[in-house]
């Protein structure tokens, strides 16, 4: 019998029995990884759920963060009903359903011969053990979701492993698709990208539900490692069903003269938390962090970012734009940290919110923590409403409210989309954003 003093279970659906069953269902794992998973599960059990006093969860709705009512699927599902959301040419593709490889399009032979690897993490754990061990979930969570990060590590089944050797450029994007199938399915997608010195690669990731009406639980993570002089372009498209609870924890390391551009598009889920960490570790490193969100109905998007400048002459540029409709809510909390010897840091952080209704809510918490004295750091947040004259102008051309919102959202997003070098990718993102207005 529940009593008033009963405390919420700290494990929810992810009980020790379920964890044991999860481990039993995996193929043989290297001992170090098995140990890490066990340690992660213990951390998950021990850590509390976010509390009211947690500054890293300020403004977040915590009452709807639940671990109950989900299950870890023991198998994938048929891929027949999966929609193909991104019609662009790719150099390789991995499709995961419920954390298991469902299908793949392999790399062209010449790229394989030059040492490029696009494989599953399960294979890479054995065949490229040193690389995986060095980079997989190597950065401790710093943005508040330690409990969920631990859950991800404990229940991670499979994911994508991408390695580009020194000096190799992969021209076409590599696609990673993660689907959740079956009501209540809990999934833990992971993508690990290692770009060796002076290499270049684009990775496009898509998260979706096989059936739009099913509720899922997703805790995804990625690790992007850009070695000296390399370039990674990462585009993540979160399109889970509208009843999904989603967490995505991204970590980026940028080395000397390397450049990482990430663009995260947030469309799906009823409540989605996104944490993004960029560490600029050597001179000349540049991280461009972009995000676009279309929030509608009662959706909540909670974005937390951290740009850490650990070396002199490093640059970061963050631009997060949210378009809000109906009763939607967004939270942006960003921090720029400049270490004492990271002189000549050039850091920028901007959160812009476009309010398309009177009932939506945008919260913004930009922050700076500078310990060096010769830096240029700019941050700011703006929230704007549609000018009624602008609205009337659109209406007077016969454009109704829904279409006007769509048009103004694209106008608002245009400068971010224009930062993508690939026109094809730009067009594919537009198409995907459009689906949000026709649903």
């Amino acid at each position: 019998m529940p009593t008033l003093t009963e405390t919420k279970s700290l494990t929810g659906s992810f009980t020790p029995e379920k964890f044991a069953a999860h481990l039993a269902g995996l193929p043989a794992l290297p001992q170090w990884w098995l140990n890490r998973k066990r340690a992660a599960y213990e951390r998950f059990v021990a850590l509390p759920m976010p509390s009211a006093t947690d500054e890293t969860w300020r403004f977040s709705t915590r009452s709807t963060l639940t671990l109950d009512g989900f299950h870890v699927p023991s198998a994938g599902a048929s891929a027949a009903q999966l929609h193909s959301p991104i019609g662009i040419k790719k150099s390789a593709k991995l499709v995961f359903v419920n954390g298991r490889l469902d299908s793949r399009e392999p790399l062209a032979a010449d790229l394989t011969q030059r040492g490029v690897i696009v494989d599953t993490l399960q294979n890479a754990l054995h065949q490229h053990c040193a690389l995986v061990k060095e980079h997989l979930l190597a950065q401790p969570p710093k943005l508040g979701s330690a409990k969920f990060a631990a859950l991800h590590e404990a229940f991670l089944t499979d994911g994508a492993f991408i390695y580009v050797p020194k000096g190799v450029e992969v021209e076409l994007p590599i696609g990673v698709f993660s689907y959740a199938a079956g009501a209540g399915a809990a999934v833990f997608p992971h993508t690990l990208v290692v770009a060796d010195d002076n290499s270049k690669v684009t990775v496009v990731e898509y998260f979706g539900s096989s059936v739009d009406s099913d509720a899922h639980f997703a805790v995804g993570a990625n690790d992007l490692y850009a070695s000296h002089g390399s370039q990674i372009t990462y585009v993540g498209k979160q399109d889970w069903s509208l009843s999904t609870l989603s967490f995505q924890l991204n970590s980026t390391i940028v080395r000397r003269d390397a450049r990482v551009q990430s663009l995260n598009l947030h469309l799906g889920a009823r409540q989605a938390r996104h944490e993004s960490l960029s560490q600029l570790q050597a001179p000349g490193a540049f991280s461009e962090m972009l995000a676009l969100t279309v929030a509608h109905d009662a959706q909540e998007f909670d974005q937390r970012t951290l740009q850490i400048h650990q070396a002199p002459n490093t640059k970061s540029d963050l631009l997060y734009k949210n378009a809000l409709r109906d009763h939607a809510k967004t939270i942006f909390s960003g921090l720029i940290v400049v270490d004492p010897d990271a002189q000549k840091t050039d850091a920028y952080q901007s959160n812009r919110n476009l309010m398309l209704s009177d009932d939506c809510e945008a919260n913004s918490l930009p922050g700076l923590e500078i310990q060096a004295n010769d830096v240029r750091c700019t941050h700011g947040a703006t929230t704007s409403r549609i000018d009624p004259e602008q609205e009337f102008y659109l209406q007077s051309r016969g454009i109704g409210k829904e279409a006007a919102d769509e048009l103004l959202t694209f106008g608002f997003f245009e400068d971010v989309l224009n930062r993508l070098a690939s026109d094809e990718l730009h067009a594919a993102l537009r198409t995907l954003i459009q689906t949000k207005f026709t649903k």
Binding site: D387, P388, E389, Q390, F392, Y393, L394, Q395, S396, R397, G398, I399, G400, K401, A403, E406, L407, L408, F410, G411, F412, F413, E414, D415
Partner: protein
């Protein structure tokens, strides 16, 4: 053949009555000009007909082909065939003219019907050629950083693409030098024809040197006080608005 009827229209902004019983009928093919001093309610009339939410129609009616449009939202009125050319068009950063017009065209199609993109661009380019507008123009954001002349040209292009039954042109000549004025007037004259009715609202006679109206009306204190042909505009130019005021005082 269409008919736009304004019947004893009263319009208020807040508590203040601006248009005080104005009646006018415009048929397809006709160009009517309304002239009047500042503050007499000319712009209020055009915005109220187009459905601006700040303007309250307190009595009277506006009929398009016999049907009242007053219950329609502004976008519905536009789709029914009305077009308002703005005195001060809004800027819409990030939205190209091509995409803007495409959305306006798409809005006129039935649910589930998709605009044929290649046919749309073909039509857009032919209209631009007709109006002597450079092709690069449509990739610019709507009115964003435009000069006064460019803004008005953008309005004319939209009007050409949307092919309204009736165009309400609010002080289209304001802020234009003589070259820009000529370009805008050429555009309107190009579109003039049996399927278009035009209501030109202007303070000055000079626009009417380029767009010759069929009917000229003088508006004063929220009403039309005098109507005539194009010679009325010239008379007004020669004698000034005080002449109308004096005449009214006598009456």
């Amino acid at each position: 053949m269409s008919l736009l009827e304004i019947k004893n229209l009263h319009v208020a902004i807040g508590e203040k009555e601006i248009v005080k019983g104005l009646s006018l009928a415009i048929r397809s093919g006709e160009v009517h000009a309304i002239m009047g001093p500042n503050g007499t309610g000319k712009s209020t009339l055009s915005k109220a007909i187009a459905g601006h939410p700040d303007y309250t129609i307190t009595s009277g009616d506006v009929l398009l082909d016999g049907k009242s449009i007053l219950a329609l939202e502004a976008d519905e009125r536009a789709r029914a065939g009305l077009f308002l050319a703005f005195q001060y068009p809004s800027e819409i950063p990030g939205v190209s003219i091509a995409n803007f017009l495409r959305a306006a065209q798409q809005a006129r199609m039935a649910e589930g019907e998709e605009l044929d993109a290649s046919a749309y661009y073909k039509r857009l380019y032919s209209k631009m050629d007709l109006l002597k507008i450079d092709r690069k123009f449509t990739s610019r954001s709507v009115n964003d950083g435009f000069s006064g002349g460019e803004k008005k040209r953008c309005e004319i292009l939209q009007m050409a693409m949307l092919e309204p039954k009736f165009a309400l042109m609010d002080e289209t000549d304001s802020g234009l030098d003589i070259d820009a004025l000529r370009i805008v007037a050429d555009g309107v004259n190009t579109m003039r024809g049996p399927n278009l009715g035009v209501l030109l609202i202007t303070h000055y006679q000079r626009l009417l040197d380029y767009i010759i109206p069929d009917h000229v009306h003088v508006m004063y204190d929220g009403r039309l006080v005098k109507s005539g042909d194009k010679s009325l505009a010239l008379e007004l130019e020669a004698k000034g608005y005080d002449w109308v005021k004096k005449e009214l005082a006598i009456v």
